[in-house]
């Protein structure tokens, strides 16, 4: 299987009050297509910075990042936005749904920035909602009318609507109760089965065990990179209505 992501000697530092604060200090790894990876580490270890760098929201200070074999550091802002739109789906801890905006308009945000004709939007939104186990009829509702678990699944529907190869999830279960969290993990595992590469940042060991590989960061370097011996699977009938 080819590597969808390859990172070589990645460094990232921030300038705070004229002082350089290093966050990532030389990261090397490769992710084959279709893998489910959990990135773990204590606060300040650089896991979110790594995730956002992989998501092309931030440029590394030095090093190389190949996405689908292409070096990304040479892409301009416009091209980066296009790659984010077409190849990457983001899921956030706090869902980040637009308030006072219907589920339909929330889910299709990525379509708005793509070349997909508007006539196809509804069909795609319904398909995305159904693939995360939500009733398509919800599309007229507002985010505030849904439970936290439902909101996160709407956010996942939004992340996958453009059928991205990679899904990046930043603590997706962090704001959810265990039942809703399990539901979200089930959805992510299902998406992984369909071929999406998933990179998940979490500090919960139980959550990370749903992945098939765990990268552990400490002080901006990889502390360990292991395959999960006994991967956990969420049983469908247990949580999904």
């Amino acid at each position: 299987m080819s590597n969808i992501i390859e990172v070589k000697n990645l460094h990232k530092s921030y300038i705070v009050d004229e002082k350089e604060i290093p966050v990532l200090n030389g990261i090397d790894f490769a992710i084959p297509e279709g893998q489910f990876i959990a990135i773990m580490g204590p606060s300040g270890s650089g896991k979110s910075t790594l995730l956002y760098s992989l998501g092309l929201l931030d440029r590394p200070t030095s090093g190389h990042y190949f996405l689908n074999g292409k070096e990304t550091s040479k892409l301009d802002d416009k091209k980066l936005a296009k790659v984010r739109n077409e190849e990457i789906g983001f899921i956030f801890q706090s869902f980040n749904l637009l308030r006072r905006t219907s589920i339909y308009d929330n889910v299709r945000v990525p379509l708005v920035y793509s070349n997909v004709p508007e006539s196809k939007h509804k069909e795609m939104v319904i398909k995305a909602l159904e693939s995360v186990g939500l009733d398509a009829k919800l599309y007229k509702k507002q985010p505030s009318q849904l439970s936290g678990g439902e909101q996160q699944r709407v956010a996942i529907a939004r992340a996958i609507i453009n059928n991205p190869t990679i899904i990046l999830a930043d603590e997706p279960t962090g704001n959810l109760d265990s039942k809703s969290g399990a539901m979200v993990m089930k959805v992510l595992q299902d998406l992984n089965k369909k071929g999406h590469t998933i990179i998940l940042v979490t500090h919960e060991t139980s959550t990370s065990e749903h992945a098939d590989r765990i990268i552990h960061l400490l002080d901006g370097v990889i502390d360990s990179d292991k395959k999960v011996a006994n991967r956990r699977y969420v049983e469908k009938e247990k949580y999904i209505k």
Partner: protein
């Protein structure tokens, strides 16, 4: 991103904050409303004044004391100039001097109290020849008018305006009654018809008497305040102006036209002057009104900054999901432009409505035909200016939104 999507997203952004959007555009609405109102009323006033000037006939000239100049202080000074004398009137009447002069109406006037019994009323007292009635096309409402014989004989016959009749006499028939002006007693022979308001001489609050009587017995002055001259044919207007100037310069021993102590105005001059004055006044008032546009623009900028800050997370999210910097810039810029355009359109609507109501009110108040004209140029300018304000005051907040770092924006609480 397609422009239609930008338009939709921006509109959705505004709809989410309806009250704030409405309050924000208030400044623009008021600004455009005032500009439309001012320009519309200014145009109406100009039309009315110019219409009245035209109705006096293009062959009319006026000769006034004082040097020819456009300045306000100069025109105020003409009241105190005593340069138009009896011999000037006689010289101008001579065919040898001004061959195309058809008629000349000498005018003296003042403003003073008139007394009837114990009643006192302030009025305009105008002395002229009987020809003034033809000039203003006056037919008496009651009684008769004074005649050429009255002028020659310096009689005490006078006519009064409708307002004088109403205020001084009430239900009493004024014809035949005597009134006192200064130390002179005048006898009322007729009442003038009610004149629709306007900007030429409004005789509703005036008494008119032979100029000979007023000049010699009431004012005891040796000069005239104005001559109204009628030229026999249009083509001789310019020549007549020159003839009058030469005659008066001869009489006044003036060799340098720069030192003229009188000025001759044609209707064309008058219309040009009035046109310039009303246009300048209108522009000035519109400019004052435009200040509120500036204030409105600053208000919009302020609200756009608040909106950008409030929606920092949304900006981060949109960027994460594929929005480019220019997508974000356009989204917020369009919001600002919608706000100002909506304000502009509402302003045009209200401005037109108010000026229409004002034209009806002014028509009734002045009993004249005040024409409502929709100021298309001001409306188009209003739309242009409001969109421009949207761009000017929206671009900086929109730019700051587009430049937000997506990660920081996503973490913004």
């Amino acid at each position: 991103m397609k422009i239609t999507n930008t338009i939709r997203i921006s509109l959705a952004g505004l709809k989410a904050n309806k009250l704030r959007s409405a309050l924000t555009i208030l400044g623009i609405v008021i600004g455009i409303t005032s500009i439309i109102l001012v320009v519309s009323i200014g145009n109406g006033a100009q039309g009315l004044i110019l219409g009245e000037i035209q109705s006096m006939g293009s062959r009319t000239l006026t000769v006034e004391p004082g040097k020819p100049s456009g300045g306000l202080s100069d025109s105020m000074m003409t009241f105190f100039q005593q340069s138009l004398k009896e011999n000037d009137l006689e010289s101008l009447k001579k065919k040898a001097n001004v061959p195309h002069l058809q008629s000349i109406i000498p005018i003296v006037f003042t403003s003073d109290n008139i007394n009837f019994g114990n009643e006192v009323l302030s009025a305009t007292i105008l002395g002229s020849s009987e020809k003034i009635f033809d000039f203003y096309k006056i037919i008496p409402a009651e009684g008769s008018l004074f005649t050429e014989d009255d002028v020659k004989g310096k009689t005490d016959n006078c006519v009064i305006g409708s307002k004088i009749k109403e205020k001084l006499f009430g239900n009493i028939d004024p014809v035949g009654q005597k009134i006192r002006v200064k130390n002179k007693t005048l006898r009322i022979v007729g009442v003038l018809p009610e004149k629709g308001g306007g900007f030429s001489f409004n005789y509703n609050s005036a008494i008119m008497a032979p100029y000979t009587t007023i000049k010699d017995y009431v004012l005891s002055q040796k000069y005239y305040n104005e001559f109204i001259v009628e030229v026999d044919q249009d083509k001789y207007i310019d020549q007549t102006v020159q003839d009058i100037q030469i005659t008066l310069r001869n009489n006044h021993n003036i060799t340098d036209p720069e030192k003229d102590d009188f000025n001759v105005q044609t209707q064309k001059d008058l219309m040009k002057t009035v046109g310039t004055v009303t246009t300048v006044m209108t522009l000035f008032l519109a400019l004052v009104a435009a200040i509120s546009l500036l204030v409105g623009g600053v208000g919009i900028m302020n609200v756009m900054f608040i909106s950008v800050t409030e929606r920092t997370k949304e900006i981060g999210l949109r960027k994460a999901l594929g929005a480019t910097n220019s997508d974000i810039l356009n989204q917020f810029l369009f919001e600002a432009i919608y706000l100002t355009l909506a304000g502009g359109l509402l302003g045009i609507l209200f401005g037109s409505l108010f000026s229409y109501v004002a034209s009806i009110g002014l028509s009734q108040a002045l009993s004249s035909n005040w024409a409502f004209s929709f100021p298309i140029s001001a409306a188009l300018m209003g739309i242009g200016v409001s969109a421009f304000i949207g761009v000017v005051f929206g671009i900086y907040p929109a730019y700051s939104a587009s430049k937000k770092n997506p990660i920081e924006a996503l973490r913004y609480e």
